[in-house]
């Protein structure tokens, strides 16, 4: 672990100031990913800015009937909040599909957005990795890539974003509130994470010195017509190989609105608004789901170990839509897939 200094601001402006003041400064909240990365010598901050005393722990109603989750709301507090559970059961379900109870008690909303990839090469400082050390190469492309991306990859990086929560947030059209040296701004969650291109070291579109203060989830009314279906290598406490967040609104027996985001297959929660739009008005039947899946997965490319994700993702999308339309969301404790 590198040596760093430590500050503990008590206001957002102070935190932003501290963040901008020192190159290499990093924010620490729940620490569940950052401390892990510190121990592997992957994260090498010059300074840690402990934001745990900032007033960002509230879940607030928004004017449109949505909710605004403070950046420091823990995953557990979000998942078990009555308003979240009632208005956004998809979000609650996705959070509960991730990590462990201990981690969910510590991990925060803002931190979840900033989780780094679980690529094995990224985590091992003894091997090359363009995300960890730009320019060193990407052995994952021809190596152990079972858990890596098939969409949105570049020749420099095939990492996935590992979050479950963000997959649901993407489907729910969430908006990220940030404050930086230049003031406040909002970033659509779909624009928050980036594909690697030739800068795989940059996971997201935050500017230097910007701090996530909240994630806003706008009103939606999918009722029971949602699901978070996560497929993984053991039945709990494992990262997704493929996950699907799906929500459907039906009108007179036809699909009125459809939202689908994929996890485990891309450097960001993967959506295709155009493909979703094409399904509006369609009858809710398997053939339509398959056609949608093919469009959402267009351009997907495997790298050997992870070739299976192409077929698996297609089937998972179809099953998730079946669950969502039927109003039988996947349970996160009963491991039978409905």
């Amino acid at each position: 672990m590198i040596r760093f200094d430590y500050v503990r601001p008590t206001s957002v402006p102070d935190a932003v100031k501290a963040l901008a003041a020192k190159p290499g400064a990093q924010v620490i909240a729940g620490g569940t990913n950052l401390v892990d990365l510190l121990k592997y010598d992957v994260a090498k901050p010059s300074r840690l800015i402990d934001i745990n005393r900032l007033p960002l722990r509230a879940i607030e109603d928004t004017a449109d009937g949505g909710l605004k989750l403070g950046a420091l709301v823990t995953n557990a507090d979000a998942a078990y909040d009555v308003r979240v559970a009632q208005r956004f059961p998809l979000l609650a379900s996705a959070i509960l599909a991730g990590a462990s109870a201990q981690l969910r008690n510590a991990a925060t909303t803002g931190g979840n957005l900033l989780q780094r990839t679980r690529c094995l090469y990224f985590y091992d400082p003894h091997v090359p990795c363009n995300k960890r050390e730009p320019g060193t190469g990407c052995p994952a492309r021809t190596g152990v890539n079972r858990n890596l991306a098939v969409l949105g990859t570049s020749e420099h990086c095939i990492a996935t974003h590992p979050s479950d929560m963000c997959v649901a947030l993407a489907a729910l059209n969430a908006v990220v509130h940030v404050t930086g040296p230049a003031g406040e701004r909002q970033i659509a969650l779909s624009d928050f994470h980036r594909v690697p291109g030739d800068r795989p070291d940059l996971d997201n579109t935050l500017e230097r010195g910007e701090l996530i203060t909240a994630v806003e989830v706008p009103f939606s009314d999918f009722g029971r017509h949602y699901t978070y279906l996560k497929l993984r290598d053991r039945l709990s406490y494992a990262f997704a190989l493929v996950s699907v967040a799906a929500a459907v609104r039906l009108d007179a027996g036809r699909i009125d609105e459809l939202r689908v985001a994929l996890g485990g297959v891309a450097p960001k929660p993967w959506r295709n608004l155009e493909a979703e739009g094409l399904l509006a008005g369609a009858a809710p039947e398997r053939r339509a789901y398959e056609a949608f899946a093919d469009r959402l997965l267009a351009g997907a490319q495997g790298f050997g170990d992870n070739d299976f994700k192409l077929g698996l993702a297609r089937r998972a999308i179809v099953r998730a839509l079946t669950q969502a339309v039927a109003g039988t969301p996947q349970s996160q404790s009963d491991k039978r897939v409905a």
């Binding site: 010598d41 003894h126 039978r336």
Partner: protein
């Protein structure tokens, strides 16, 4: 519900008794090796090799040495002298070859090999300075791909002690196979597995003012480690004592002395202070492991299902420097009756550490392939898989032609099948379905050696009537403390609270490494003998007491109860043990006794524990999601000393078998020669949600050739056959035969 049946018979042996070490373990007071403190304790942190093969050209440690608190950095280039002869490095269970010597030379044999040790005043200074140590290497071509190296496989010239090489062929396999009406042949591949006990290796060396070392180590054999450290560092045996009172799991990985022990002692001797060295979870993947294995099994039978031909070939990985060997294929020559067998086993060198015995080494791997192949044969013959096994039941060990000392396997088949509801199984694959899930029933046989080894134990009776029994055994979660307490308490008719068991200390009576499932039978027998001898002494002294009511009493006429010796039919006529001691003018009575296996009996009989494993799987065919909602393991393991801890032993074996079947897999990057998933997040072991109902039943088995307790040991039998039962159930559910473990969901997608 836990097993709560209380036997009416007096005493503790055979009753479901709570662990005597339970109160310490549930309160956090049981101390493990890295939890002992010492004045001026320094901390060591290991730096690991970035490359898999080659040579260290230079260790660059200047930046690390600048870190405040750093004391010294050891490496091959800077270390105290150690023994030069291989013999000194060969521990009690070493395979043939040149044992690995941490910092022995500049040579790199495997990725994550230790190349330096940073010693500092604090754990954090050592850890953080270690991240600043870099090395320059000369890299040579590595070999980690067993599939490719299979072509280079060889018959190990020197055989490992205690491991029988494959028996010579019997009959004529080729002809019998060619002529048989029903036959199968298939390849089975096993991924490397890592023991990964929850406690990471750690050693705390406490250096006394006189220079003697008290070594708290994670090991399955305190005396093995003591002899090894004394040899490696040229220390008088009296200058070193090894303590392993509590061991946080091991499963075989702590049979051989570990690098943390060598490096901690090295630093302690050089710095003349107390030192603690702990491994990281990543470094736990640089230790011995259950080797990669490629196996081919060919079986043939008649229309009646009787086996006509058996061929089993296995190629296993080993390290560049040692020829690690297991009995992998031998099981195929003994588990079923067959006149024509051909068995072969070879090794291929890989750039890894030497594999290390992992729970039922050899059997877990070899019996998986045999039992998966038997399922294939049953399918080919159109015979129920259980029925096929019953028809080929062996009455004698085909490899040695010896009768079994006991073999209640038929009871395992019958009682296990009944408990499981095997009769509800439809013969055809893909014939059972519920909702989105295909349902499959699979079964397999398990077998493991029943062994006994020489053990010496001591029993001490104090004036207050308390009893202490001791031997340098270990309890790695096996329940050794508890069963020894039960045996001793029964010998003297004492409540458990009056018995103290001391194990886990090299200063105690002689005991080999704790492994091979031999501890309960062997240590138990030695404690029983020591207690019997102590009772003889007590009775002899009681007889000599003035006006002794026992003056004429023989041992079989008296009973020891609650600190008294009295005539069996007349509790009033007796003396208290306290009075016996007083009359003898002694503070305590003490006896030591040794249990020695009866070699003559061992020569005449083959001894094994057996199991029949029945598994139900549910497979979501479209998504490959797989569950094992229930499993029955019916075990023939001789006498059961403690049904509560015995059941736990089997549960543990089953869970590890489920991990082998479905989850566990070391993933190597073949270009880098490096294991990449060196953590608990991506090397998956089962979690609680993965484990359904596991029903353990012990069938009645009378064993009287393996020592007087009639015990066979249960630490390993629970894993053997489990993976095959699951794989066979998956075939039954899906009609898809997956032969390469683990069976991850991608392998099940149509």
């Amino acid at each position: 519900m836990p097993p709560t049946a209380i036997s009416q018979a007096p005493g503790f042996v055979g009753r479901p008794t709570r662990r005597v070490d339970g109160p310490l373990k549930v309160t956090g007071r049981a101390k493990y090796a890295a939890e002992y403190d010492a004045p001026g304790l320094a901390y060591g942190y290991i730096v690991s090799s970035a490359v898999a093969a080659g040579r260290v050209l230079a260790i660059e440690a200047d930046a690390a040495l600048q870190m405040p608190g750093v004391i010294r950095i050891f490496s091959h280039a800077d270390r105290p002298a150690t023994a030069t002869a291989d013999k000194a490095w060969q521990d009690e269970v070493a395979p043939p070859g040149h044992p690995f010597r941490p910092f022995g030379s500049d040579e790199i044999h495997f990725a994550l090999q230790p190349i330096a040790l940073v010693v500092a005043e604090t754990y954090e200074a050592a850890r953080d300075a270690a991240s600043l140590v870099t090395a320059r290497y000369e890299v040579t071509q590595h070999r980690v791909d067993l599939k490719r190296e299979r072509a280079t496989a060889y018959d190990p010239p020197e055989k490992r002690a205690g491991i029988p090489p494959p028996p010579a062929p019997r009959g004529d396999f080729a002809q019998a196979y060619a002529d048989a009406p029903v036959k199968i042949s298939a390849d089975y591949v096993l991924a490397p597995e890592y023991h990964n006990p929850m406690e990471m290796f750690g050693t705390t060396v406490v250096r006394n003012d006189d220079g003697k070392l008290l070594v708290f180590d994670k090991t399955q054999g305190s005396q093995n480690v003591k002899a090894y450290l004394a040899g490696v560092f040229g220390l008088p045996e009296g200058d070193i004592r090894v303590v392993n009172a509590y061991v946080g799991g091991a499963f075989g990985t702590a049979l051989r002395p570990n690098m943390s022990a060598v490096l901690a002692v090295m630093a302690s001797l050089a710095l003349e202070r107390s030192v603690r060295v702990t491994l990281t979870r990543e470094q736990m993947f640089a230790l011995g492991y259950r080797p990669h294995m490629e196996q081919t099994v060919s079986l043939a039978c008649g229309r009646d299902g009787k086996l006509l031909a058996v061929h089993h070939d296995a190629v296993s990985g080993t390290s560049p420097f040692e020829d690690y060997q297991e009995a992998v294929v031998n099981w195929s020559g003994m588990l079923y009756a067959c006149a024509n067998t051909k068995l072969s086993y070879a090794l291929a060198k890989l750039n890894t550490n030497t594999p290390c015995d992992m729970r039922a080494p050899g059997a877990t791997s070899g019996v998986y392939a045999l039992e998966a192949a038997m399922d294939e044969l049953a399918h080919a013959a159109g015979i129920d898989p259980l029925e096929l096994r019953i028809r080929n039941f062996s009455e004698r060990d085909g490899n040695t032609d010896k009768p079994y000392s006991s073999k209640a396997l038929m009871l395992c088949y019958r009682e296990g099948a009944a408990r499981f509801g095997w009769s509800r199984r439809q013969l055809a694959p893909r014939s059972m379905r519920e909702g989105n899930e295909l349902v499959g029933f699979g079964m397999a046989t398990g077998v493991w050696e029943a062994m006994v080894v020489p053990v010496t134990a001591k029993a001490i009776l104090s004036a207050d009537g308390a009893l202490e029994v001791s031997t340098a055994s270990s309890d790695i979660g096996t329940g050794t403390y508890t069963i020894l307490a039960q045996i001793a308490a029964d010998a003297f008719g004492l409540p458990l609270e009056r018995v103290t068991v001391r194990i886990g200390d090299s200063a105690l009576s002689a005991h080999p490494v704790e492994g091979g499932s031999w501890t309960a039978a062997s240590a138990g027998a030695s404690v029983s003998l020591a207690c019997a001898k102590l009772k003889e002494q007590a009775l002899a002294r009681a007889r000599r007491m003035t006006n002794s009511p026992l003056a004429q009493a023989a041992m079989e006429e008296v009973a020891f109860t609650d600190g008294r010796i009295a005539l069996a039919g007349d509790a009033g006529r007796g003396v208290s043990l306290a009075d016996v001691l007083r009359a003898s003018d002694l503070g305590h009575l003490e006896e030591e006794a040794s249990f020695t296996p009866d070699e003559k009996l061992a020569g005449r009989y083959a001894s094994y524990s057996h199991a029949a494993v029945f598994a139900e799987v549910r497979v979501d065919e479209e998504l490959g999601v797989l569950r094992v909602p229930r499993l029955v393991s019916a075990v023939a393991g001789g006498k059961i000393l403690n049904p509560k801890t015995a059941r736990s032993q089997i549960l543990g074996g089953v869970v590890m078998g489920l991990g082998m079947a479905l989850h566990e897999e070391g993933l190597f990057d073949h270009d880098l020669g490096r294991l990449m998933n060196h953590n608990y997040a991506e090397y998956h072991v089962p979690v609680n949600a993965d484990i359904g109902d596991i029903d353990v039943l012990f069938v009645d088995e009378h064993e009287d050739k393996l020592g007087h307790l009639g015990v066979k040991g249960l630490g390993e039998i629970g894993i053997v056959g489990t993976a095959a039962a699951v794989a066979n159930a998956i075939f039954h559910a899906t009609g898809k035969r997956v032969r390469d473990l683990p069976i991850t969901l991608d392998k099940l997608l149509g």
